[in-house]
């Protein structure tokens, strides 16, 4: 019975993240539009776009190889699995032990690796420029992310996300620490860069000024593009869930909690997602995109904060 419940809750989480991901993107777009005094598309627009894309035929470049056709599914699967491994409304799920935080980060790295390869497959200049810049950003963002992971894991004594959340959430909790603050800032910076949001990249266009992620997937169409868009939405959801479960862990149900706690967990999770999306929209609406070669400086800040956060652990005390 416990096994079946475990599987059910794990399955619920997988479906939940998949179902909510486009909604989060829609919400961010909607709030951003309102902040700019536009009516903006309805929140359900991304769902419609995805359905429309899935029904359209794929226009494939003549020399596209099997790698180009397989990548969307691989990227989607890796993003989905990674997103489903991050605690959203409950910790200690059936399969939460299959990959720790380091492996989740690396799983997203695998997805990006294949996407960057696919960008180069057709042999266009746009694809190359996108891949090259994406990998440059990643080579700064990934170490920053891992240093943040180190800081968190050293506090919690584990890299297992469920355990980390439980330790941070308490009782007894870990108290207020400078390191955790730095980790939060660093994680937010990385999240913005990894998801290609303003000021690093602009998800709304794919022309001259923002030749990173959108340039890389320029050759994709139809169902392939739908998979990639869905994967991008899942990745955004993953980072919001990650920040939420690490830094605002309240309301997350624990292993063996009654169904009421689960319902409460889902409720608070939805609230956290909405707040996270709103914060992202406000941030994006209030800042301008930066030049490509400013981005390494920006990510360098995250790297330094991650490092400082880790080092301060050894000399500071919790409040």
């Amino acid at each position: 019975m416990a096994l079946i419940t475990g599987f059910a809750i794990q399955g619920l989480q997988m479906l939940l993240v998949l179902a909510l991901a486009p909604g989060l993107v829609g919400l961010v777009r909607r709030i951003k539009a309102r902040l700019m005094r536009r009516p903006g598309p309805p929140i359900r627009q991304p769902y419609r776009d995805l359905l429309r894309l899935m029904r359209k035929e794929v226009v494939l470049a003549e020399n596209a190889s099997w790698l180009f056709r397989a990548t969307p599914y691989l990227v989607f699967a890796a993003s989905w699995v990674a997103a489903a491994l991050v605690p959203t409304f409950a910790t200690g799920l059936q399969f939460s032990w299959t990959a720790d935080l380091i492996a989740i980060v690396a799983l997203l790295g695998s997805a990006r690796f294949f996407l960057a390869l696919a960008g180069m497959d057709v042999g266009t200049s746009f694809g190359g420029i996108g891949s090259s810049r994406e990998m440059m950003f990643a080579s700064m963002a990934e170490p920053a992310m891992l240093l943040t992971v180190f800081a968190l894991s050293l506090v919690a004594g584990s890299t297992q996300l469920s355990t980390v959340v439980q330790v941070l959430h308490g009782p007894p909790g870990v108290g207020l620490r400078v390191s955790l603050g730095m980790a939060l800032v660093s994680l937010v910076i990385v999240a913005i860069a990894e998801n290609g949001r303003i000021p690093v990249d602009n998800p709304a266009t794919h022309l001259e000024l923002t030749m990173v992620h959108e340039a890389m997937v320029l050759e994709y169409s139809g169902r392939h593009l739908a998979m990639i868009e869905l994967a991008a939405a899942l990745k955004l959801l993953l980072y919001v869930s990650l920040i939420a479960c690490l830094f605002v862990p309240w309301g997350i149900a624990r292993e063996g909690d009654p169904p009421v706690a689960l319902a409460l967990g889902i409720g608070t999770y939805l609230l956290k997602l909405a707040l996270g999306g709103a914060a992202l929209a406000v941030f994006e609406a209030s800042i301008a995109k930066m030049r490509v070669f400013r981005v390494p400086d920006y990510l360098g800040v995250a790297l330094m904060l991650g490092l400082l956060g880790t080092l301060l652990l050894f000399v500071s005390r919790a409040l």
Binding site: A77, A106, G123, S125, S131, S132, P143, F314
Partner: protein, 667 residues
């Protein structure tokens, strides 16, 4: 068991004269390579069985110095490295059956190749300093001869010269190290060295000398300069052996001396190792990310991986010195696992660059492209290799990198504050190296195998023969296997780790679903098998649903490229353009990279020119001044050759008097 290992090694050595005797025959190349496979498989068998039953066996052969003989011994460490040499050697030999046919002068490769394999096995088997050093030197010289196989190219000759100098320098450091180890007693057997008491300064000096001696062979910064020159210069199967296996033999030498022969070492040694390892990793991969030559990229990436291994060994030393055997066992398991993994994927990638070289005659990224359509099998196997080497799940490169990160997270237990803070920072730099490796290998694969062919040779490439594909396939399977079930490899490593650190990881294959649990379940777990299963299941489910619920329609059309596709393949992103962001961000400091654009004045018909200027700072700041200094001293000393006999007699007299003077004061 030791007899079998000795016979296999002897068999390899005997193949060398056979190759000379049969020279000129048409089928000699295939025969020698095919015959080399057997002893290598024998070594694999010995290694596997030894790791299984944990017996050590030894023998003394009456060759070598009369009062020593040649001691050979099998223990866990030897077994593991015999396994590495055996697998690498067998795969390379199989590959060479096909690759060797394209060799223009097989007489310059064949006699040295089996001897090189045998010498590597003998280094690992040796149980006394004399045999070890002789085997080491034979290994160096035979690999030098193999590097010089294409000696008519000036670049190869230059590489050979640098390699020879660095190899001699490294051996000198090792000779000094063993001299200090054996002490004034002069018993060179390892058993005697082990039991000899020695003071801390001597131990530290030995550790440093071995770091220089073995490190120069492994490619540790700043002794790495020969590696990216010599490894690519050799024929590709030899490059695979040098990068995949010989660097591992160097790591064996380091482990054997530092973790076995010296005895206890203070913790102060470990920061040196960790910092050297991290600097090696980062510098190696930054160079790999901007190099244009396929084999050069691979050679620089070897330097990176050696850096990762040395950093993990440094961590093991830190934990060992602070009496934390469990953490030391974790660190050493990570290092040895990475040794194994790097052997597999680096040999695979050098083989695939050799396959590309065979098919197209080129190895510059700007002349390749589109091979995934011309050479589908090679391209697929190479893809496995690049995913593995970029430390991406679910393959083996990530599994060992993950173990290294887990080791880094053990640092709060260290008693020294400096070390405690150094280790996570080093972990961050290793993460940077791993991320840069992904960038470097997206470039490697994307430019070499994807896109449109940039030259006629690339556009008309043909798939290589079945021997080469079989060898690459075997190594790729090993990468996948070690990646999906690291538990199996880690359990094989347990006796080695136990012998060196007196502790071991928990038994991994007893965990449910073959999960990797380095310390405890609550701390960290990773199950690549399930992750891979989940990804495969969700990817195929997604594909099925999308094709069912959506549409299957697909139309081939010209590439979109934002409406301006250009038919010339030269308009694709090239090696220089792909590297540009990283060159600007990191290369500005580390490589002093600059770009110069010469714009002709308006109206002029000359083309604009764009140049990239890069500097190898270690070469320019350390090696060139040193070389100039040596030349200057040698030129000065040259005058001594043209003196009259009176002067010479005066010198002899003066030397004698001053020596007697020193002696009289000394006493």
């Amino acid at each position: 068991m030791i007899e079998a290992a000795a016979i296999a090694t002897l068999g390899l050595f005997l193949l060398s004269p056979l190759a000379i005797a049969l020279r000129g025959r048409a089928s000699v190349s295939g025969l020698i390579y095919a015959l080399s496979i057997l002893p290598c498989l024998g070594l694999v068998g010995v290694g596997l069985m030894g790791l299984g039953d944990r017996h050590s066996s030894a023998m003394v052969l009456p060759v070598g110095l009369p009062w020593i003989g040649a001691h050979l011994r099998l223990d866990a460490l030897t077994d593991f490295f015999l396994l590495v040499v055996g697998i690498g050697g067998a795969a390379t030999s199989l590959y060479a059956i096909g690759y060797g046919r394209h060799e223009e002068e097989p007489g310059r490769v064949l006699p040295f190749y089996p001897g090189f394999l045998g010498a590597m096995a003998l280094v690992v088997l040796a149980d006394d300093a004399f045999t070890f050093l002789v085997a080491w030197e034979v290994m160096s010289l035979l690999s030098w001869a193999l590097v010089m196989a294409h000696h008519r190219e000036a670049e190869v000759r230059a590489a050979g010269l640098i390699y020879l100098i660095m190899a001699a320098f490294g051996t000198m450091a090792l000779v000094l190290a063993f001299g200090l180890l054996a002490g004034s007693g002069g018993d060179y057997a390892f058993a005697a060295i082990r039991s000899l008491p020695r003071s801390m300064p001597v131990s530290i000096a030995v550790a440093f000398l071995v770091l220089v001696g073995a490190g120069s062979k492994a490619g540790v910064v700043p002794l790495h300069l020969w590696l990216p020159r010599a490894h690519p210069a050799a024929p590709s199967h030899v490059s695979a052996l040098m990068s995949g296996v010989m660097t591992k033999v160097a790591i064996y030498a380091f482990l054997r001396v530092v973790f076995d022969l010296i005895g206890p070492l203070p913790w102060m040694v470990s920061p040196v190792l960790i910092l050297t390892g991290v600097a090696t990793a980062v510098l190696g991969i930054v160079n790999a990310a901007v190099a244009d030559d396929m084999k050069k990229i691979l050679a620089y990436s070897t330097i990176e991986n050696v850096g990762v291994i040395f950093a993990a060994i440094g961590l093991a030393q830190a934990f060992r010195a602070d009496d934390m055997p469990t953490a030391a066992a974790l660190a050493l398991s990570a290092a040895l696992f990475h040794v194994f993994n790097h052997m597999a994927f680096k040999s695979l990638l050098f083989m695939s660059s050799g396959a590309v070289l065979t098919a197209t005659g080129r190895r510059d990224l700007d002349g390749l492209g589109g091979l995934i359509r011309r050479m589908p099998v090679t391209s697929f196997l190479t893809l496995i290799g690049v995913v593995a080497i970029s430390a991406l799940p679910p393959l083996n490169g990530f599994a060992s990198e993950w173990m290294v990160f887990q080791t880094v997270l053990q640092s709060p237990q260290l008693p020294q504050l400096g070390l405690e803070m150094l280790v996570p920072a080093a972990g961050g730099m290793l993460a940077l190296a791993a991320a840069l490796a992904a960038a470097a290998f997206v470039r490697f694969y994307g430019l070499g195998f994807l896109g449109r062919g940039r030259s006629a040779e690339a556009s008309n490439a043909r798939e290589v023969d079945r021997y080469m594909l079989a060898a690459m396939g075997g190594l790729a399977a090993l990468c996948v296997l070690a990646g999906l079930v690291p538990a199996l490899v880690l359990d094989r490593l347990a006796p080695v780790v136990e012998a060196l650190t007196r502790s071991r990881l928990p038994v991994q294959s007893a965990e449910p679903w073959l999960t990797v649990v380095p310390v405890a379940v609550a701390r960290s777990t990773y199950n690549p098998l399930l992750v891979c299963l989940f990804i495969a299941a969700t990817a195929s489910a997604a594909a099925w649903v999308v094709h069912r619920a959506g549409t299957r329609a697909l139309r081939r059309a010209p590439a979109w490229d934002c409406g301006f596709p250009d038919p010339s393949p030269l308009t694709q992103y090239g090696a220089g353009s792909f590297a540009q962001p990283l060159r600007r961000v990191l290369g500005g400091v580390l490589l002093r990279a600059r770009e110069e654009v010469e714009m002709p004045p308006p109206g002029a018909t000359v083309p604009a020119r764009h140049r990239v200027i890069q500097h190898d700072l270690i070469w320019e700041w350390a090696y060139l001044p040193l070389a100039r200094g040596i030349l200057k001293v040698a030129t000065e000393a040259n005058r001594l050759q043209f003196l009259t006999i009176r002067r010479y007699l005066a010198f002899v007299m003066g030397t004698l008097v001053s020596l007697l003077l020193v002696l009289s004061i000394w006493r």
